[in-house]
């Protein structure tokens, strides 16, 4: 299995942590891991993007037009990173509703057979009182949709193993909440 994932957003949204979940998942299911991350100045509120390639890859960067999945934790960062998605790819965005997204672009994505799903992960996390777990809620949601090539159980196990003790409970709660919402779209 070869899968390329882009995780995008702004500094402070836990993008590197989300990337860690998928890299550990890859390791768990026996895939090679390659990827690259933004560190340094951009972490101060600038654009942050992580590339993750699971399978037989040599280079840490994903080429435009070849990514299988895009997770975006910020609406505006989504637009900048859509170019990475391949025809038929998946796009999960932290956004109140798809109506808020640019209509022309949505239509274009449709023409490229790209599945676009908006989920109010930040709203859910805010309601839970742990705004930092919006990233986990979005991943949980994506798992619920049944569109991912990963097993729910593997993802959850990995989340348990990489979460800090203090965050474990809220992370699992965000994941489960997102998962249930995702399932409703089936």
């Amino acid at each position: 299995m070869n899968i390329q994932i882009i995780l995008a957003g702004v500094g402070g949204q836990g993008i590197l942590f989300a990337a860690r979940i998928f890299s550990q998942l890859g390791l768990k299911i026996g895939l090679g891991i390659m990827g690259s991350e933004t560190h340094g100045m951009s972490q101060r509120g600038g654009s942050v993007v992580a590339h993750l390639k699971l399978g037989a890859y040599q280079s840490p960067m994903i080429r435009a037009g070849t990514a299988d999945i895009l997770y975006s934790f910020d609406e505006k960062e989504t637009y900048k990173n859509l170019k990475f998605l391949r025809r038929g790819g998946l796009c999960f965005v932290n956004l109140v509703s798809a109506d808020r997204f640019d209509g022309k672009i949505l239509h274009h994505l449709e023409n490229k057979d790209i599945t676009f799903r908006a989920y109010d992960a930040a709203g859910v996390a805010l309601k839970m009182g742990v705004i930092r777990s919006a990233n986990i809620a979005l991943i949980g949601y994506s798992a619920g949709t049944g569109l991912l090539p990963f097993h729910y159980k593997d993802l959850k196990n990995v989340l348990e193993s990489v979460s800090r003790t203090n965050d474990l409970e809220s992370n699992l709660k965000a994941f489960e909440t997102g998962f249930r919402e995702g399932k409703k779209t089936l």
Binding site: S36, H39, G40, S59, M61, R63, G65, Y79, K104, I105
Partner: protein, 624 residues
């Protein structure tokens, strides 16, 4: 996974640290800087995990780090020093000289390059620096390879008694890969410095002899690099062909994925070079002779290409086939390859660029998301006060989070570490010569001041310069990921070191006017700046230093403690944008529909500082 194999997903810098530890390195030093900052903390973590007694220190700057590591090597131990590429400029004096004197125990210099650049002031290529200094270079193409190269670099360094440079680019340093770990070597090396003045204290006459010896050593190393090795090898099924590509570092990896992806592996042969200096010339000449044209793909500059003797068949940066600046991203390499394959009539690749999507996104006119000081950052009110107190001053600044004072129009220059003060004294003297006394407010962070502020400041005092220096002391090296400073006296390993307070250093530099304030007190800060300006103008005056001290809001999460002030915006707000444009806190934003400012609760940390910012007093504490 084999039995007992330890495979972990590691950041390239962590893999490099692991290589340093696995090689049995005894002493490691560093000064933080993106993209190198994660190496030293990872070495500390491995040391602790494995129960080793490696000596590891954050040094106050790169030259200091270099010399400390070198001394350990001269005493027979293995040592490593890590820095970013512009840090190597600071350590250049030591580097140049160390190539002549050589080393005893293996010494590896890690200098991380930043093609792009993503987080640096230049795109300089450390391989050129190594060539300039005449030290061998290893150029890794993956985190795993970086780890293995570090280990060989130690061996090479020890065998030939020469310091060796490892040059990862940012995509290797911040790349992630599943990496196979091995247990560390244990090498007993009690410190044993053998006096040899003709070498360690060589005068120019002996330097000539050392230079000759260095050149002989380099020839021997070049011979070794000519041999078939895991660093230098060919990829491709045929020996000959119309197009050969010589490549290195991450560009090699990008090329492999691209050829696989486009299913054109048969179209080209590749020569991968992991040791760009001294360059295995015979290997290169032989490869070129078997191809009609040879393309060179390397970052950031033309180090391999420049060294090739007969360039008649070579296409690269020097011939304009590859851009002479910027990163070789997969898209860029795709484009170069398509052009070259078309020119040579080998194949016509379909470019999959989605131009329509690009056009649609462009039409949205998305704002460029510039980095900004965090909500609650104490540097923001300091800059705000500077701008308010002395709006017409020149503002020389420096490298760190506070570079982002740019956004508050309170930073005019950012050139290199320490230049906030040297430019201030330089500007002063330039105007003073014309009998013009202009206000100058320099800003510098605590870590930068410890790095290279003292020599700048004492020079300014000595030569009677007059300006205001605001030292932004957040008690940590924040931008690069929270490394400790001498100001808090905590060492790299988290143990207690000697505390060296900023005020004592400033006094030691001869400054007589020193005041300390918490910049959260904006009005107090404005008042102090005005007093400081008076002092710089008074007959007995001189340089005035304000230490604006408040802990980094990110690192010391508890810093606000009981002092949290939740605020809200009242109907007094008339949408003047003053707070959004001039205070520029990410937690304050405009609600364009209602034409008024609002608070982003997700980002606000309740510092309450903005209460003093609104000209109409519309930002007020929430009544409990």
């Amino acid at each position: 996974m084999g039995k007992g194999e330890d495979i972990r997903v590691l950041l390239g810098n962590v893999a490099i640290a692991r290589g340093i530890i696995e090689a049995g390195c005894h002493v490691m030093t560093s000064y933080p800087g993106t993209p190198s900052s994660e190496i030293l903390p990872a070495a500390v973590a491995f040391k602790k995990e494995l129960g080793l007694d490696t000596y590891i220190e954050w040094s106050v700057n790169e030259k200091v780090a270099f010399d400390n590591a070198m001394a350990a090597s001269w005493a027979g131990k293995r040592s490593a020093v890590a820095m970013k590429q512009v840090g190597l400029n600071v350590a250049a004096d030591s580097l140049m000289s160390s190539a002549y004197t050589g080393v005893i125990g293996g010494m590896v210099i890690v200098s991380c390059d930043d093609p792009g650049p993503h987080s640096s002031q230049t795109e300089q290529d450390s391989r050129f620096f190594a060539m300039f200094a005449k030290v061998p270079v290893y150029d890794p193409s993956s985190p795993q390879e970086a780890k293995e190269m570090v280990k060989e670099a130690f061996e090479l360094s020890e065998t030939y008694q020469i310091p060796v440079l490892l040059r990862p680019t940012i995509r290797i340093s911040h790349g992630k890969q599943s990496v196979k770990l091995t247990p560390p070597e244990v090498i007993a090396r009690p410190a044993d410095f053998k006096k040899d003045p003709g070498r360690w204290a060589a005068t120019p006459r002996y330097r000539f002899i050392l230079h000759k010896k260095l050149n002989e050593t380099l020839s021997q190393i070049q011979e070794r690099f000519e041999e078939e090795s895991v660093w230098n090898y060919e990829v491709g099924s045929k020996r000959e062909g119309p197009l050969g590509i010589i490549t290195c570092s991450v560009s090699f990896a990008v090329l492999l994925d691209l050829l696989e992806d486009l299913d054109i592996k048969e179209a080209v042969n590749i020569l991968k070079i992991g040791t760009p200096y001294p360059l295995p010339q015979r290997r290169i000449t032989d490869f070129i002779s078997r191809h009609k044209k040879v393309l060179i793909l390397e970052e950031t500059d033309s180090v391999i290409e420049s060294q090739i003797i007969d360039k008649s068949k070579v296409w690269g940066r020097l011939t304009g086939h590859v851009s002479i600046q910027g990163e070789l991203t997969p898209e860029v390499i795709h484009e170069i390859l398509s052009d070259v394959l078309r020119k040579l009539k080998i194949s016509d690749l379909e470019m999959v660029k989605d131009e329509y999507l690009e056009k649609l996104v462009k039409e949205l006119e998305l704002p460029v998301r510039r980095p900004t000081l965090c909500a609650g950052c104490p540097e923001r009110p300091a800059f705000f006060a500077i701008k308010r107190a002395l709006p017409k001053a020149i503002y020389p600044s420096d490298i760190g989070c506070y570079t982002l004072g740019l956004n508050l129009q309170a930073v005019d220059t950012v050139i290199d570490m320490g230049a906030g003060i040297t430019l201030a004294s330089g500007f002063y003297q330039a105007y003073h010569q014309d009998k013009n006394d202009i206000p100058i407010v320099a800003t510098m962070g605590d870590s930068t001041f410890y790095h290279s502020g003292t020599s700048s400041l004492l020079n300014a005092v000595y030569n009677n310069a007059r300006f205001i220096l605001v030292l932004l002391d957040n008690e940590i090296t924040a931008m690069t990921g929270m490394q400790p400073t001498p100001g808090i006296g905590v060492t790299a390993e988290g143990t207690e070191g000697q505390k060296i307070p900023l005020e004592a250093l400033i006094r030691g530099c001869g400054v007589k006017w020193i005041k300390t304030i918490d910049p959260y007190d904006i009005e107090g800060m404005i008042q102090l700046l005005k007093e400081a300006r008076q002092y710089t103008k008074s007959e007995e005056g001189g340089i005035a230093v304000i230490v604006a001290r408040h802990p980094c809001i990110i690192h010391y999460q508890e810093a606000l403690g009981e002092c949290r002030i939740e605020v809200h915006i009242t109907d007094e707000c008339n949408g003047c944008r003053y707070c959004v444009d001039y205070f520029e806190c990410p937690a304050l934003r405009m609600n364009e529909e209602e034409d008024r400012a609002e608070i982003d609760r997700m980002l606000c940390v309740d510092c309450g500082v903005c209460v003093k910012v609104c000209p109409r007093g519309a930002i007020v504490p929430v009544e409990l």
